[in-house]
Amino acid sequence: MTAAVDAIPVQLTDVVKRYGRRTVLAGVSLEVQPGITGLVGPNGAGKSTLVRSMLGLVRLAEGEARVFGHDPYRQPRRVRELVGVVPEDECSIPGLSGVEMVRYAARLSGLPATEALRRAHEVLDWCDAGQERYRPVETLSVGTRQKVSFAAAIVHDPPMIILDEPTNGLDPIERRAMLGRLTTLARNHGKTIFVSTHVLPDVQAICDRVIVLARGQVRLAGSIADLTRPPSPVHHLTGTGPLDRLVSELAARGLPATLATGETGPLLAVASPQPEQVAAVWAAAASAGVAIRSFAPARRPLEQVFLETLRQAELETNVDRPFGSQSGGAHALA
């Protein structure tokens, strides 16, 4: 297994998938590297089909897919041993309790009977499922069901976990806990996490990389840090005290700054200083009587990047489309 796990987790090359005349994936090429990768896109972008193609559930019209070096369509058993999936759709076997459901998933993944039960309890404990685990799955709350589903996906300790809308229906505390578990698995246990979601703040919070899929094509892919970097390098400074005086102090030291309003209050947008200029910022703040709370490179919200990408995709599509044809998907840009 080690050799397989050492390979690149997911490699798709010019993947095309059609349902009848409709092309759902139109030449998708991407790589999913170890760490946490987010897949975002509007409804109907082809995210679910992309995930299905990674699992070998659909036959590709063209192109090549490799998961840990294996062809998912020809070696589905091998691939699914290496992958755990949390589907978006609520799926359970009515009549089984939470722990039985996880144990069943473990058995289906090849764990021996006693080991499956032990492991099921272990991961349910880690997911903080509590005594709810003994209730039939169909009677569980959405949050607990999501925990059971997540536990069932990781019970066989796969090197890669694919999650489709993992925070759907979770309250803020549970949502935070779920994101924490994903981060732990990626950072402490070396798992590759692939999250397909609409919740962009979640992606920005935990993902290392993001892939934007629209109209069956990869429109944007890269690290979150690179994609959210503003066009001109700027640092954001927040603090308490007379920020307007700080603007003039900074200007006097050759560091242009403007007063702006951030999500949490007023802030200063300072042209990113050279490393040797950072001390000057602190000196200016001291002389202006401002206590700095934070001073960090500015980031554009991922949502802004996402919307710009979709707008660009829409424009490209309209250019390609004959005059007068209907513009489907425009609602996504509204």
């Binding site: 349902y19 699992l55 289906l108 764990l111 300790d157 246990h189």
Partner: protein, 378 residues
């Protein structure tokens, strides 16, 4: 955080193979199905016909032990119901063939046991099987489609083959529990109540025939039921299709057989009329009463056979060719079982029903293979 929470730990050990997966699906599915009170009642009830047949085995072996076989046969010939249901009497009368001097106990026992076992598996058990399978099978795949539980299977190392086999084994276990097990228990009881345990050696092939006949009964029915279940997310529709298939084709078979019977009677009447020089349909204008139609003795069924012709066919008493058996799964299965028990080995008897059952089996497999992964394919 609970005290027993040890955090996330890696797991890397030897995994089980696909055979274990089939067994896991089967055992879990069986356990879930067994939670139905109705199913437990049905299976319990399905064993009750065995008691009646056990009485027949006991009466026969008692008669052999006490040397009353001839009187038993003579009484049977007179049409008396020796075991209260007439089954043993009729079977025995047919077995002895009205020649009391040439009775061989061993061959008579084999014939009687074979026909009793066939009648048991054919008449009550095949009908109960339809009911039990109709209760369990429709939900097996349709519920997975409805609850999207197919994702539980096909996002894990489970292939179509393991999934279908696992579901089929759930039904096979049930079917064998109500056909094979009671039939084997009957044979064992017959051995235990017989004068000598050497009877087990004389009839060693019967348990094997029971097993083969049970599988011949189980495989097409189980696959057909699963195929119906895979075609819809509504188990009620699958249930309806299942029962409708049995009933509608039974009625079709009955209609075709009756039409044949009427045609043959007309042909015989015509032949009789030709023999007496009268035109068919001609009004008798002679003196005295019109000539009576005389049917050949072997063509005239006994009252028992007329009333329960399907049962007579089931027991192998009536071995006349059922040329429409292939129309109905129930009758096809009966003809196949009769062939397996060695009662009617004519290929023109079991050939067409065998083709029907093969078509059902192959068609069901194709439907299953196509349907079970259909949701995953989008």
């Amino acid at each position: 955080m609970p005290l027993h929470d040890v955090g996330y730990r890696a797991w890397n050990s030897q995994r089980c193979g696909p055979t274990a997966t089939v067994w896991v699906i089967a055992v879990t599915g069986f356990r879930l199905a067994w939670e139905s009170r109705w199913l437990r009642r049905m299976v319990f009830f399905a064993w009750s016909p065995a008691l009646i047949f056990a009485a027949s085995f006991f009466a026969f072996e008692q008669a052999v032990d006490e040397g009353r076989l001839m009187s038993l046969g003579e009484a049977a010939e007179r049409g008396k119901n020796l075991d209260g249901v007439g089954m043993l009497g009729t079977v025995l009368a047919d077995a002895l063939g009205g020649d009391p001097d040439s009775v061989d106990i061993e061959s008579t026992r084999r014939l009687v046991w074979t026909r009793l076992l066939l009648a048991f598996m054919r008449a009550p058990q095949a009908l109960l099987l339809a009911a039990v399978v109709g209760l369990v099978a429709p939900t097996l795949i349709s519920r997975d489609l409805r609850a999207k539980a197919w994702l539980v299977y096909f996002t894990r190392p489970v292939g179509r083959r393991e999934y279908i086999l696992g579901k089929a084994v759930i039904l096979l276990l049930l079917v064998l529990a109500i056909t094979m097990l009671p039939a084997l228990a009957l044979w064992l009881m017959g051995v235990l109540v017989s004068p000598s345990l050497a009877v087990a050696l004389e009839t060693w092939d019967l348990p094997l025939r029971v097993m083969v006949a049970s599988l011949a009964l189980a495989i097409p029915t189980v696959l057909l039921a699963l195929a119906y279940s895979s075609l819809t997310a509504e188990s009620r529709i699958a249930s309806f299709a299942w029962f409708a298939t049995w009933v509608a084709l039974w009625i079709a078979h009955g209609a075709l057989t009756t039409a044949d019977l009427v045609a043959s009677i007309r042909a015989e009447e015509q032949a009789a009329a030709v023999a007496t020089g009268a035109e068919v349909g001609e009004v008798w204008a002679g003196e005295g009463s019109p000539p009576q139609f005389q049917r050949r003795p072997e063509a005239r069924p006994s009252p028992f056979r007329r009333q329960f012709r399907w049962l007579a066919r089931a027991t192998g008493i009536d071995t006349s060719l059922d040329r429409w058996a292939w129309v109905s799964p129930y009758h096809s299965l009966g003809v196949m079982q009769a062939a397996i028990f060695g009662i009617d080995r004519r290929i023109r008897s079991w050939g067409p029903p065998a083709v029907t059952l093969l078509v059902i089996t192959a068609g069901s497999l194709v439907v299953l293979a196509w349907r079970v992964t259909a949701p995953a394919r989008g």
